[in-house]
Amino acid sequence: MPSSNYHSFPILTIITVTLNDLKGFLLTADSIIPNLSLNIQWIIKDGGSAPEILSAIQSVARTYSQLYSFKDNSIYSGMNYALNHAKGKFVVFMNGGDTFSSANCLPSLCDLLANELDDTSIYIFPYIEVDCAGNKIYRRCNSSAHSIFQLWRMPTISQSQVFPKSIYSQLRFDESFVVSADHQFYWSAALKSNYNIKTLDFPLAIFQLGGVSSTNPLKSCVDVFSYLRKYSSVGIFSLYSIMLIRISASCIRYLIYMFKRTRIYSLIASLNHRSSLIVWALGVNGEGSSVIAHEWINYIAQNQMSTLFVFSNESTLSKKFDCNSTKFVNKNARISCLKLPSFCRHYTFHFLVKLLFPVNFFFKSVLVFDDFPFLLASNQVLYFQQLNLLIGKSFLWKLKQLVFLILVSSRPSVYCQTEHVLSSFKRRFPSLECFSFLHEIK
């Protein structure tokens, strides 16, 4: 029976489907409950959990949500059932174990949707993937995924898709696809309906690998093949090509997933001692950029555990601070500085490192202050300060622009300080995720 406390006309309905996973459910609940408001309806669909788990879920649900509990055929059957009770203008699925990416995420989403006058848009967001070893990877939306040969995957996971509720009166999850009904639903909506797809640039969900689609790659491939045959007008040759891509990708992902569960991987990971973050400021030498990088380095040293700062000797930046100062002495953190000789600032060395260094093998995340991103890196933010890389006309700048074009194919998140640089950057690289704000300068 549904409990009380739901709201008549909310903006957003969150649906959580769960089965015998109390730990995962509580994780999800913790990311939702602090931000629940009159604008949000939360529906929990339990697929028939054990009595002690159900009573724990009920104690949470009694206060905050509508709970429906009975045995269902599959996860998608539970999702379809919950949709019958959705009252929000938009719907998002946040299943047991998955969470919103940050405390601000849900309020920001509601603000965004509240300003949406019509409900003809599907919103897709980046997400953070967590593997079984606990490593997080920031995954951008694959915005080119609306072409026919990208049908083997969705541009983002279903937890980072927000659909208008009106779409569910025309389409539902096809329960015959046990593993990939969310793919079928997404592509049916994207290809057949008249809804616009809007890509936003803040991560919506944290997604834990290990669900049904990660552990059943072949079933997932068969599902994709079946729904494309059933729902799309793709030719048979294209269909088999898509299938081949899908199987290859799924097998690779599955092998990586299985490898990460082995003791060998744990051993490598423990030998590796990966620091959380590398702050790369080797090429920073201008007065303005050094002031900015200096402020950031001081802030990060105070607020971030396990960070390596890299810059060059005798640069304007290195003259600004002392690694032995109290700012860098934090007993609980592993903060270290690496000062490379000044010749490393030379572009040839610089570019070779950026092209070849597998930075994620040693560090989980990379923050780059000297304009050129690493080619082989994920979880990368590029702090872009060099307008000449967009507008420089000299031969040397054209050459640097070419190198930049190659390096930027790693698709870092690009941060610009000002709107005019941001708009120039977006014009030049429309598929990259860019954002801007002017932070305080002391």
Binding site: I128, T418, L438
Partner: protein, 166 residues
Amino acid sequence: MSSKSFLLFYPSSYLPHKNHKILLDNKLITFFTENNIFIALTIPASSPGFQDFPFFYLLGNISRDKCLHYMKRCDALLFLSAYESLGLPLIEASLISKPIICPYEIYTSELLGDSPYYFDSDYPVFSLISLLSSLISLPMLKPSSLVKSVSNMHDSWAEFKLRLAL
């Protein structure tokens, strides 16, 4: 001819797009001489053309503290750059409410709105002479201020952390 001296400060590296060369135009040189206008520049003392004129103070590469000291002491900040990704001196000068003289460009208007004294970058010499003529006779210049909202470092870092998956 003005008897009171007027000190401008232009903190920037000696790069082509910073437009230092504008200051060496004959009409401007004559105007500076006749009106007791002095300009402190953070370019090397050996910069060609500049060392011939006593009203240019060539400070070379100075520390940030010294830069802020000059910024406080001068009558106005002069900024001639054609383009900038940020324009840090404009922010620093605004934070101490110093008057700013700069070209009307996309980067200046985004940061400063209507608060600085703009000159026309298509006709910089004529426009600068005309602007400075009117400014040196004023008893007080209007302070500049930032129009762009500034987020604190804590919030900015939270945004970064999301994308860094930390």
